[in-house]
């Protein structure tokens, strides 16, 4: 009896979610600030767009999308559809580097698409496969075929399979789309490790658009690979010094560049 009631409640809840404009289950990003603003995270069965602020931020945008995929996918396989030109322009996907972000290439199927239409075609095909954890779609620039209809098809497939489709718009500019959320990402200075070593990946992520109405805000987050989660970082933590020691010293900074030099810090860190 009690189980029946529980099931009924769940059904009602599902119906309610389905009728709301930004309906559907959400996955948390790990960042409390982002999750709170978005009402629990990003919608799972939806299309999300990630733009890079400048050309040099493309790797950050792609990585941000991978991280969202990791948050959503729960160890399930991920399909990444990438236009050839993105690799030529921004660098080819490097599997050992994906490991370092927490994505084991064991889970990844990469589709190398020749052009924009092929990217969309393969992306849609993949988005219709519910056992996947997430689909990354990475066309170059603004393909002609990437219009409202095309994005709606992707969004629909994503909703039906309850699977996030994350579109990295390398070299692209925002166009009308059926995306549930749109992000603009840029690299942010990392919190440094010992001896001036670059630290964990940090990003500034601006939410340009959100179906649920949280757009217009930005967050600075760091990716924690070990927990596969974004964490908020206070602004004070990232305004570090430059390597020659001119900037403000940070708490916890033990070796000054002038004294230690950047010659062998890696060994020091590993030994410690």
């Amino acid at each position: 009896m009690k189980a029946d009631l529980e099931a009924l409640r769940e059904r009602v809840a599902r119906l309610e979610r389905g009728s709301s404009p930004a309906g559907g289950e959400r996955f948390s990003t790990g960042s409390r600030a982002i999750d709170a603003a978005l009402g629990g995270g990003l919608v799972r069965g939806a299309l999300h767009e990630v733009f890079a602020e400048g050309m040099a931020d493309e790797p950050a945008a792609a990585a941000f999308a991978i991280m969202l995929a990791l948050r959503a996918s729960d160890a399930k396989p991920i399909v990444w559809v990438r236009q050839d030109f993105v690799g030529l322009e921004m660098g080819e996907i490097y599997a050992p580097g994906l490991v370092e972000l927490g994505l084991s290439p064991d889970r990844l199927i990469l589709v190398r698409a020749r052009d924009g239409p092929a990217v969309l075609r393969a992306g849609e095909e993949a988005a219709r496969c519910p056992p996947l954890g997430a689909v990354l779609v990475e066309p170059w620039g603004n393909p002609k075929t990437l219009d409202l209809v095309a994005t709606r098809r992707l969004a629909l497939a994503a909703a039906r399979a309850d699977l996030p489709v994350l579109m990295v718009r390398a070299g692209g500019t925002p166009t009308p789309s059926a995306a549930a959320s749109r992000w603009r990402v840029r690299s942010a200075p990392s919190r440094q490790m010992e001896a001036e070593a670059p630290g964990h990946p940090c990003f500034v992520a601006d939410l340009l658009r959100d179906r649920a109405g949280a757009a217009g805000r930005g967050w600075t987050v760091e990716w924690n690979r070990d927990r596969l989660a974004f964490t908020d970082i206070p602004i004070a933590d990232i305004s570090g010094s430059d390597i020659s020691g001119n900037g403000a010293a940070l708490p916890g900074r033990v070796v000054s560049a002038a004294a230690g030099g950047p010659d062998h810090p890696a060994e020091e860190r590993r030994a410690g």
């Binding site: 790797p59 990469l110 589709v111 095909e125 990392s190 670059p198």
Partner: protein, 507 residues
């Protein structure tokens, strides 16, 4: 099947005005003289023979059409004929340079018996203006010998089962295909026909000419099996549709194809197998054949799955399937099959999901090509460029724990994207000569280095590139937070030029 005048047929086919031309001979330079190596029917009728020098031939018939022989083109024509014969039977053997052997076991009923089949093939060849002699017999060697060596008059076209030995009796010794000196030796012994050989004890010949000869003799009579090497792999399973009226409408083609796929699926299920390599052949009414092959990662047997795979593939063809005036025949073959247990209804959810992902990889591979749908496999090497290998996903099913987990707490030590080859950068300012740069420019943009870690020295594997210098790698972060992987080619040496490269970008 023998094409006695193949080179001449080929040349005549190419010329519209062939009818108005004088008798044709094809020549080749042999032992310093131009000799006739092939001729047309007209030339033969005029009394010319193969081996005659061109000068002698010209003396007899001043008005000759002379061409040089082109054996490559002749082989191509033979291949084209073989391809066309594929309609009759999937087992076609090329009997170079001017013959074909077809295994028509089980095919003749489609043409209304052996006579009908022979008639159909002969008509097709006649329309293509190729002279041919065709013989049907129970053994390949019997048929071959009869086609090539039997006299034109009173020739047996279809050898009844069990009559092989009788049919070859009157053939000349040459039908054995022996070396010239052996043939001459036998002739000198007064033996002129195959029948004469058959009547004598075989040990007699075996001791003089070797076992090979008695074996050939037995094969000729259909008493010993002959090895067959078909030009294409013989399909394990195949299904076929012939249409009295060529079909061209997409729905018709599709429904016929769906039918065949179902048939193949049932057959595979009965054998407890699944196909890995499939091939569809579309035979156009005008003789052109289009073949489309598909390879799958796992054995497949559901007709539906097969149909979807082929639809993907056909949709993605660079030059689409063109029915022209219609297809008069379609065939679907399984070229390679693997054992596949019957589907168990109680399969757990995980296995079903794995299957769905593998299906997706198959479909994507069918459409975009297996080399475009890849997985990354680790390589045991220090060379960063070779640390990962992209391999077709369909041949490398999903497996876990190939890749080691990174050390906890460490920031990424390898970039997520890499440039191949590394990109040259210009160093604007370096504080310490052998340290990382402070400022550099890449793609006409200036970057100010804020954090750096290194060097991590990576030496090339000596057995690969003994002359390449070791590289000193640095992880770099600029003032705005972009993270790069730079290296200096070679160790620092005062006074020497050092070159810096950007190899990858971090998240």
């Amino acid at each position: 099947m023998w094409f006695p005048l193949l080179p001449a047929d080929r040349i005549i086919r190419q010329r519209k005005d062939a009818r108005d031309r004088p008798p044709l001979v094809a020549v080749e330079k042999q032992k310093g003289a131009m000799r006739i190596v092939a001729l047309s029917r007209e030339a033969k009728r005029a009394g010319l023979v193969v081996g005659l020098t061109l000068a002698d031939a010209r003396a007899r018939i001043p008005d000759l059409w002379v061409e040089e022989i082109d054996r490559i083109a002749d082989a191509a024509l033979l291949d084209a004929v073989a391809e066309d014969c594929d309609r009759v039977s999937p087992v076609v053997m090329v009997d170079a340079p001017d013959g074909l052997t077809l295994d028509i076991t089980g095919c003749d009923h489609l043409f209304g018996g052996e006579a009908g089949l022979r008639l159909g093939v002969s008509q097709r060849l006649r329309r293509a203006r190729i002279n041919a002699r065709t013989v049907i017999a129970g053994a390949p060697d019997t048929a071959r010998a009869l086609a090539r060596h039997a006299p034109l008059q009173g020739r047996i076209a279809i050898v009844a089962p069990g009559e092989e030995a009788a049919a070859v009796r009157s053939l000349p010794i040459a039908a054995l295909g022996l070396e010239e000196k052996d043939r001459v030796a036998i002739s000198r012994a007064g033996l002129k026909t195959i029948g004469a050989l058959i009547d004598r004890p075989s040990q007699l010949f075996a001791s003089r000419f070797g076992e090979e000869m008695t074996l050939r003799l037995r094969r000729l009579q259909g008493l010993a099996p002959a090895p067959l090497t078909p030009r294409r792999n013989v399909p394990a399973i195949w299904s076929e549709r012939r249409f009295a009226e060529p079909i061209g409408r997409e729905e018709d083609i599709h429904s016929a194809f769906a039918d065949m796929a179902r048939e193949i699926g049932d057959e595979l299920a009965a054998r407890r197998e699944g196909g890995r390599v499939f091939e569809a052949s579309f035979y156009r009414a005008d003789g052109a054949v289009r073949r489309v092959a598909i390879e799958t990662g796992r054995p497949v047997r559901q007709g539906e799955t097969l149909l979807r795979l082929f639809r993907e593939k056909l949709d993605a063809l660079a030059d689409p399937l063109d029915p022209g005036f219609g297809f008069d025949q379609m065939r679907l073959c399984v070229l390679h099959a693997d054992p596949l247990a019957a589907v168990q209804p109680g399969l757990d959810g995980r296995a079903i999901e794995d299957d769905a992902v593998a299906d997706l990889a198959d479909r994507l591979s069918a459409r975009f090509g297996p080399e475009r749908v890849v997985r990354f496999l680790p390589e045991d090497t220090h060379d960063p460029d070779r640390a990962a290998r992209a391999a077709p996903a369909i041949f490398n099913p999903m497996t876990s724990s190939l890749w080691p987990a990174p050390e906890a707490g460490e920031p990424p030590l390898r970039p997520s994207q890499i440039f191949n080859p590394p990109q040259r950068i210009a160093i604007r300012f370096a504080e310490i000569p052998d340290g990382p740069p402070r400022r550099f420019s890449w793609r006409r943009k200036e970057f100010t280095v804020r954090r750096a870690e290194g060097p991590e020295r990576i030496a090339p594997e000596w057995w690969r590139a003994p002359d390449d210098a070791a590289r000193d790698y640095y992880r770099i972060e600029d003032a705005e937070g972009r993270r790069f992987w730079l290296f200096r080619a070679g160790a620092y040496a005062p006074g020497a030029d050092t070159h810096w490269y950007l190899h990858g970008v971090f998240a």
